[in-house]
Symmetry: D2
Subunit: 350 residues, 4 copies
């Protein structure tokens, strides 16, 4: 099944990004969940919440554990979330007497949200590298062609001559601000979610904060009070994804308009037409516009999901799953395409 | 790769719909494209545009044709659309002397858009059946519990008693209007797209309209002037998809609120929790809300794509691909879930 | 206060529409509400629900009634809706013994929703005339320049020559489909809302449907069961508003792109620049794109409001008020601008 | 004309915010533009670009200048922007020989964008104070009722008991993060826009950066290279506005759900019903949900406007005007309503 172009065997060649998509595969999701369960068992053993032998048994099982995915799928259809069935399977694999120590004091949302954050950390590293690559390529364009003249265009009309460097700077400067934003946001986003059934860590007495801190440390995440019904860091991250694709959409739109006018840019690698062999379509430039408008669309839904009622909203939470992974992949794809497109610019200005 | 929950091996068990998703698979897409090429060859032969032996050769090749999908994927990355490489492969398979008759006078957008309409016809049939099933189930609830009393709730406060039939009618009546809308829209939507390179059927002289009418007839679609840069029928269809999920979202929200209050509804089949075994979460009701908000989000992008510049906009067209298939699957999934949920209502009112 | 450009004393000169805006003024809203109360009193007297002298007293008061708007404003701040305070004032004006017959059996939503529908009827007439005007102007362009040649442009690249009539048809044909849609939808939309406290007309016994039918007839609206929690007709109308502005946005975008290229269009009436006196900015064409993207944005919110919980959702209902009036004015403004822009085209093609 | 509830004489009593709205009035906009022109004249005189007597003449005229607004309105209809006509009027008022020094080297977008930033600085101060007020009020609730018990609710079902402080913390903590975000963003947002006709300050030779720095200093803004086609700081600010209303929407939704359940909250000040005098509708709580969904809707459009083509996009720029002021007022209104609502909570938990 390939409803989304990001998953589509053919369309993802243009619109997808293999590395980013990998972090949102079912395998990566389950692996991140198992990482959580392993770190939890270890953290709880250190704090004396569960026995060291229980933790050892859990870690041993997890080292080679493969879930029954058919039953996971059925579990999602019934429970709305992967975790209850996954924990059921894990407990059965660990068996007596340590099965009661599996997932102790945690809830589905702890596993899903922290599992997401673990993968977003990788996504952020990937986006950061792609931002750098784009900045480098645009800087190279600036160095190579910056002194040449372009026709400045305002309100779709010829204005006055500008330098190529003026326009390239308008493509590059936002990306540098996005680097700064990514760094500022990461401190709010890359933190553990751990709260138990309703966010109170009620099974740990006064040891709750210590267990959470240990769990965070083992996972390499920041420690923070539970945020399961406070989704602002995720919506903020979605906003940044859309800022990035928006800036690249402006770049794509500019390239497409220059390619249309014809004399101020030379591009290699344009796309062919089934009806007109003479054409060189600025396919990547158009895709950048499409991905920008796609993310601007999705962003609205991520902000609708902020109305996350009470201690946990199944509806608002599920809505995030429908939106955020595709936004992240769209962003990585746009950065990849923009870097390629910058590399295909043979000449700018005159 | 499974970025979208609609494609996800686990999450699609809840949020997906197998039949709707099938119409958006790469296989179904290619099959519909080949149906177009076959019908085109036949229509052109009948009109004397290409030879009958050419058409026979093309039809013969198409009867068992399997494209090289790796090369299709590379083609999309380069051309932004599947068709140029698909036609290249088809022409090679047909070979001399008839290869020049393949795809004659058509353009990529003719194949992609008509191929989409062919699949939307199947989707509409599927949605229509699901609408009927929901109406039947809600009518059954009305017959069974309609005379009982419910607490009417306005502005989140107890208002006055109502009948169960009053609330069920508010769930059912919009679905009946959606049936009417689907019928009215289908006449605008289920029409062939055929225009050639820039919409003018310039290769056919005065035979253009006749070839188009024959093509439409062979495909079982309505005949209409080319609409490749007029996307209103698609955006209107997207609006209806969101109207349907919106009405079902109201149903889901009502059920979740009743399940919370507790005494006026009895549901079977609720979802389990990994932390609280006593719970019966109204998972399907929540999913209906999530899918409604998802489609309301996507709809905005489908309307952004109406600004389809000039004779063909790669950017606006690609944006549709990113949005419409998922909206259709979300709608089918919501209808499936709503029918299931209606079937799980053991008691309503008192 | 002029937060919205549609209300702004300066910006509404470009972006607003005086006639459409008038239907959404506080005065027009109150007048429609009073029309409802008058028709209700008359319908109830005819059905014997209230006395004929009571109805006469109410009608007499309404004939010259001016509400205390300062207290209405305070009432909205407290009640979230104008009606409770308006009815309080009306009852005081009617006085004993007939004050208890004012607004009898009705609720705020009956007044607000029917009052909206009464004004939407006028808006629809206005839009219909504007659609006709646009079609007439585009047809005139087609007759005048249709036979000339234009450069067909696909994917932002020169494709093959087309006729001016080919492109103008792509601007005109969607408007004709919008006329058809407006007619089909109006039957669903232009119906009375009358349900009483929770939609059951509980104060009328078996006379409820007769009172409602009489009320509808007096107001010149269709009769229909209460729909206060079923918002599909409003969301469908919003979709059509966005379809209209979307089609006009494509027209605007095409004009702006032609104006940029320069040789295929001559426009009078372009806008001036504070820095570059030589420029003729295609201001109206740009405004069409902005209004199209504005409505495509708002549409999402109107569909979010479909999740209208239980018998009345204050949140979802209020959300509509924040969105629909501006969408209607944006649509009227776009139609006005498009007609003006079509009139400013001095030459097309070559 | 009062199309928007934020401008509406009645509805703004609930949904508006007088102080925020004031910064978006036509008067405030013109005043900010004239501040720009005054500071520009002074900065240019200091740098020797224009004469000191010219600057003195301009400043003198500006000290009591009142534009002809009817002509400004007509100017917007023609030019799409207030500035060309405003500058025309200013030049006429200054007269020979200094009129050529008015607005020297600047363009409309410099005036409009910097004028906006000047007002956003005031808006940000206002939002900051309102955030503090909300945090103080929520902290007071926590101190007063924090130790009591609430029914923790997950997925619309009874979960386990929590403390009142647990839920109040989930309302308060995001607001504190929003304070941090506001501070981080302000450095990127509160900077001068000054670039001249196409962003190159072409009339100033090598003195451009010095004039810009002096202009920024006089206006109390940060200095930065021109950003007229880089709208990321504005879209980021819009994202924050929606994050704020989203967090408050969660608060409102929770209050409405508690008010529905009935026993865990006591509220003063609920709204009345025209049909059911016994009701106390949680009007402010509902309005918070509506404003959250409104801003989440608008946000999408602000990100669509990132595709700001070439050196200046009339379409994308105009789209911002249609969206951002209302988002800002909605945010201020939500903060005001939330603070009031927190003050109306008489009791929480048991």
């Amino acid at each position: 099944m390939t409803v989304s172009p990001f998953d589509h065997p053919l369309l993802s060649g243009l619109l997808g990004d293999e590395e980013a998509a990998r972090y949102f595969s079912a395998d990566a999701e389950i692996a991140a969940m198992l990482d959580f369960e392993r770190a939890l068992a270890e953290a709880e053993a250190e704090s004396g919440i569960i026995g060291k032998d229980a933790a050892a048994a859990i870690v041993a099982v997890l080292s080679s554990y493969k879930p029954d995915t058919a039953r996971l799928r059925a579990g999602v259809a019934k429970d709305g979330v992967i975790v209850p069935e996954l924990v059921r399977q894990l407990k059965a694999a660990v068996g007596a007497p340590h099965e009661t120590s599996v997932h102790f004091g945690a809830t589905s949302q702890d596993v899903v949200d922290t599992g997401l954050v673990l993968r977003l950390r990788r996504v952020i590293d990937h986006l950061d590298l792609l931002l750098i690559e784009n900045i480098v390529r645009l800087t190279a364009l600036e160095e190579r062609f910056g002194g040449r003249t372009l026709t400045g265009m305002t309100r779709m009309q010829v204005a006055i001559p500008i330098k190529v460097s003026d326009r390239v700077a308008a493509w590059r400067a936002p990306l540098q601000r996005h680097q700064q934003r990514l760094s500022q946001q990461s401190r709010r986003l890359l933190v553990v979610q751990f709260g138990g059934a309703a966010g109170t860590l009620e099974k740990f007495g006064d040891k709750g904060p210590a267990v959470r801190a240990a769990l965070a440390a083992k996972l390499g995440l920041g420690d923070a009070p539970q945020w399961h019904s406070q989704r602002d860091a995720l919506a903020e991250f979605a906003s940044l994804l859309s800022l990035i694709t928006g800036s690249l959409g402006k770049f794509g739109q500019d390239i497409a308009l220059m390619a249309q006018a014809g004399s101020e840019i030379m591009l290699s690698g344009g796309g062919g037409s089934s009806a007109m062999p003479h054409k060189q379509n600025p396919v990547k430039a158009e895709a950048l516009v499409a991905l920008a408008r796609f993310n601007a669309t999705q962003l609205s839904g991520m902000h609708q999901a902020l109305a996350h009622e009470q201690e946990r909203s199944g509806a608002a939470w599920t809505l995030e799953w429908l939106l955020l992974p595709q936004m992240a992949v769209a962003t990585a794809a746009a950065l990849r395409l923009a870097a390629e497109l910058a590399g295909e610019i043979e000449s700018l200005g005159h």
